[in-house]
């Protein structure tokens, strides 16, 4: 038995910290917990970030009998997850100050457990581990969505997400069962070895089902049904969290499963990813056009973005890993910033969620309005913001593999999506509203500011992200060889 526990330090720390938080929650009286818990969670996350950074080896290493494998790709992705957690905490503090819940403690440590699930998912090297950690993440998120007092929307969203999420999980399990049935193992390397000589219909079926499970998780059409309702209904910080974390975790897990293990079938599932990606890109963009609710709009936009990332999977494996990671990086910060600013503007009565609430935002808060320009233009992929580079890398990857028409479709989708990304800006700048100054909560404002600055600065100097993507690609490939 080869545990290699030291490699597992960050996860272990996070799990222990989460459990410790449960205990603290039991001790501390229920009043005025928000600040304290936010602070503690913030601290925990910061430590976890440091630990993750430390325990992300460049040459891939395995732990727990090969049940997890850490490399740079997983390390960076985990960092993304933890950064999201960090900023979510900032946004949540502000949100919880305004929308009371009885379950402040539960809220924060469920966040931690969700992140833990995501982290495990990212580094999983075995099907059962992947399945179970995915469920940790999902169930935590169901709970988070339903946690708020008298918040009917959140619960409805949680129910829908729960039902469909379970279908997705079952599909995934079924697919895993088939893979296991073909190969006799659940460990990635063994599965890979057995599969390489077995191009049977059953293998295709298994891959199809696993792929469907992932397509569901990332919200690709037609598995997307849950996404708009869930993002829309969930409390905004939760939308933020799941918008970023679920996508990162699902896509990285997808990469780690599909590229090394299912590579012999690349041509087939690549094609599927391309087709569903392009359809999703167009569908999301189109459906978002008519939205009045910004969260719902962002939900559709996330479908569209997921579609773009999916289409990148169909390129050469190296290009795919590279551009997918880049896109995920950009997408994470864009999502944080976008949902963050909505959360910031959301005061009692769901103000700030609807387009009409953005009327005259510039006169109410110039800085927020200007930040919103950065955010939405980054989402739309207008240079020189980070969002542009993400799209650009996908484009290059597609064209390099001779897929010019798909590249064009991706761009058309981004053209259509411009139609709605511009809307909040129109409302913020070009329409007049009642003059009342908005005083944004400090912590949430900081989160939005940080992520917007990331969008700007890394947009100006994309080489940083590019190098990170390259390194993670190199490390990833090293593990495959």
């Amino acid at each position: 038995m080869e545990l290699n526990l030291s490699l597992f330090t960050p996860e272990l720390f996070l799990a222990c910290a989460g459990i410790l938080l449960i205990l603290i929650d039991l001790i501390i009286p229920s009043r005025e917990k928000n600040g304290l818990f936010a602070l503690i969670t913030f601290g925990i996350t910061s430590v976890a970030i440091v630990l993750t950074a430390v325990y992300s080896p460049f040459s891939p290493q395995e732990a727990f009998n090969g049940f997890i494998k850490k490399d740079f790709l997983s390390g960076l992705s985990q960092l993304l997850v933890l950064f999201t957690l960090l900023l979510t905490v900032l946004v949540s503090y502000d949100y919880l100050e305004r929308f009371k819940t009885n379950y402040v403690g539960e809220y924060y440590y469920t966040l931690i457990f969700a992140s833990l699930g995501a982290m495990l998912m990212i580094e999983a090297n075995e099907l059962a581990t992947l399945f179970v950690s995915l469920e940790v993440m999902s169930i935590s998120i169901y709970v988070l969505m339903a946690l708020f007092k008298r918040d009917y929307r959140g619960k409805e969203a949680a129910l829908k997400y729960f039902i469909l999420g379970s279908v997705g999980a079952a599909t995934l399990a079924y697919g895993f069962a088939l893979l296991y049935g073909i190969t006799g193992s659940t460990l990635y390397p063994e599965v890979a070895k057995a599969l390489s000589s077995n191009l049977s219909a059953a293998a295709f079926l298994g891959i199809a089902l696993v792929l469907s499970g992932f397509l569901f998780k990332v919200g690709a059409v037609p598995f997307h049904g849950w996404a708009p309702d869930a993002y829309h209904g969930a409390p905004t910080p939760v939308s933020l969290f799941m918008g970023a974390v679920v996508k990162v975790a699902a896509f990285v897990a997808l990469l780690k499963l599909f590229f090394p293990v299912l590579l012999p079938f690349f041509e087939r599932w690549g094609e599927v990813a391309l087709i569903f990606g392009l359809v999703s890109a167009l569908f999301g963009a189109l459906a978002a056009l008519g939205q009045e609710n910004l969260k719902r709009m962002l939900a559709y936009s996330s479908i569209s973005h997921a579609g773009v990332i999916l289409s990148a999977l169909a390129t050469l494996p190296a290009l795919a890993v590279y551009s997918v990671f880049f896109y995920l990086f950009a997408y994470t910060f864009m999502t944080i910033a976008a949902f963050g600013i909505i959360s910031l503007l959301t005061v009692k009565g769901f103000k700030g969620e609807n387009l009409s609430d953005w009327r005259g935002l510039y006169s109410k808060s110039p800085s927020l309005a200007l930040l919103s320009v950065v955010i939405f233009m980054a989402l739309a992929g207008i240079p020189p913001l980070l969002g542009f580079w993400a799209k650009f890398y996908v484009l290059v990857a597609l064209v390099k593999t001779g897929k010019v028409l798909p590249a064009l479709i991706v761009m058309v989708a981004s053209l259509i999506s411009l139609g709605f990304y511009l809307k909040p800006l129109v409302y913020a700048f070009m329409k007049e509203g009642k003059e009342e100054r908005v005083i944004p909560g400090f912590s949430a404002y900081a989160a939005v500011l940080i992520s917007s600055l990331v969008l700007i600065f890394l947009g100006l100097f994309p080489e940083v992200v590019s190098q990170a993507s390259l390194l993670s690609l190199a490390s990833f490939l090293k593990g495959v060889m």
Partner: protein, 483 residues
Amino acid sequence: MVSLMLVIPLIGALFIALCRSEERAKWIALFTTGLVLVLSVLLLFQFDVSKSSSFQFIDYGHWLPSLSIKYKVGVDGLSLIMVLMTALLTFIAVPSAWNYIDRRKRLFYALLLLLETAMLGVFVSLDLLLFYIFWEAMLIPMSLIIGIWGGERRIYSALKFFIYTFAGSIFLLVGMVVLVVFYTSLTGNFTFDLQQLLNLKLPLELQKWLFWAFFIAFAVKVPLFPFHTWLPDAHVEAPTPGSVILAGVLLKMGIYGFLRFSLPLFPDAYKLYAPVIFALGVIAIVYTALIALVQEDVKKIVAYSSVSHMGFVMIGLFSLTVQGIEGAIFQMLSHGLVSGALFFVVGIIYERLHTREVGKMGGLASLAPKLATLGMLFTMANVGLPGTSSFIGEFLTILGGYKASHLVGVLMALGVIFGAAYMLYMYRNVFFLEPKVLSFKDLDRRELLSLGLLALLVIWWGFNPEFIMKFIHGYTHRLLGGV
């Protein structure tokens, strides 16, 4: 030095963001744009004309090495004059906004400065992707300027402008990437460097596709019939400084794109499709001139006249004669001055009368002789009277068009008649006849100075076009040598 010009407006914008006073913003803007203008003039004098076909003042840095995208800027003769014009018109735009922009001044001037950086960037980029970035980055400030300070239908116009242009540029981006990937497949060298890409001889089949991809992006910006409908909307709704910049600089970005990319990169496709462009150009000239004849809105007339003039430019470009191309370049330069000035004039009138309807004006010549005089000058320049800079361009493009096809020449020249017709009717309705208003303040010193500057340039370059032309002979020579 070129990089300095790109950075200065950004610093200016930063200062505006930091300063708390709404009033001080415009002084900062004036100073910044002035500084850029001075720099551009300095650049003009330091430029080595004998080597005008090669790029000078190159600033070079690795920006995105993993995709070998470089920060590479520099100017050749063509870029140089575009830079000069951009600097000039932005400088002019500040005084034109002086009274017109009466709210959110800080935002306005900051956006204007950002816009300046983006526009300058477009003209000096020597890396395809850098070009594209500036090309797109320009959209945000411009749309905001139209959308915030524009007229009734400003939001529609701003969105239309943004989305229309973006629609064009998606093809541009894909085309660029295809081009670069193809280059890589030949040479194994992945680069967006324009100078390296120019060495490439593309197969005709690929040229055809890429030509159209680039064409759409540039044609929308030019704008060439039938992609022009965003322009009247944008022009009419934009505030005066917006119109000045829009007409003066933004429209030129499309032409510049043709000159810098389409022509040198796809010469064979260029030759192949010239007849199509001729047809579109001729339609643009005659058809939009006809439309301009019946417009009631002064700004619309000038806007449609821009489309019409761009038809000349396009035909000149595609005539593949020295005269046609040089004429086209000169024409766009001159059109920048003239239409910028005309929009300024219209803006002054609107500021005082709060109407742009032709029917509600009249007789301003007796109330505001200075405005009328300068207005006459710019009207005549727009008509293409010899002695003004427009004539040079118009004449040379007609020369080019005539060479390409007699019919094209004839139809182009027909535009000369229509141009005279709508401009003179407009002038008559605005300035002649009995006054319909009681009082009208003539130009103040600030307006006089900025319009006077433009007027002097229009006449100076009308008599001494060589001052500008000497910078583009080299470019044209190299270009046609390659074709």
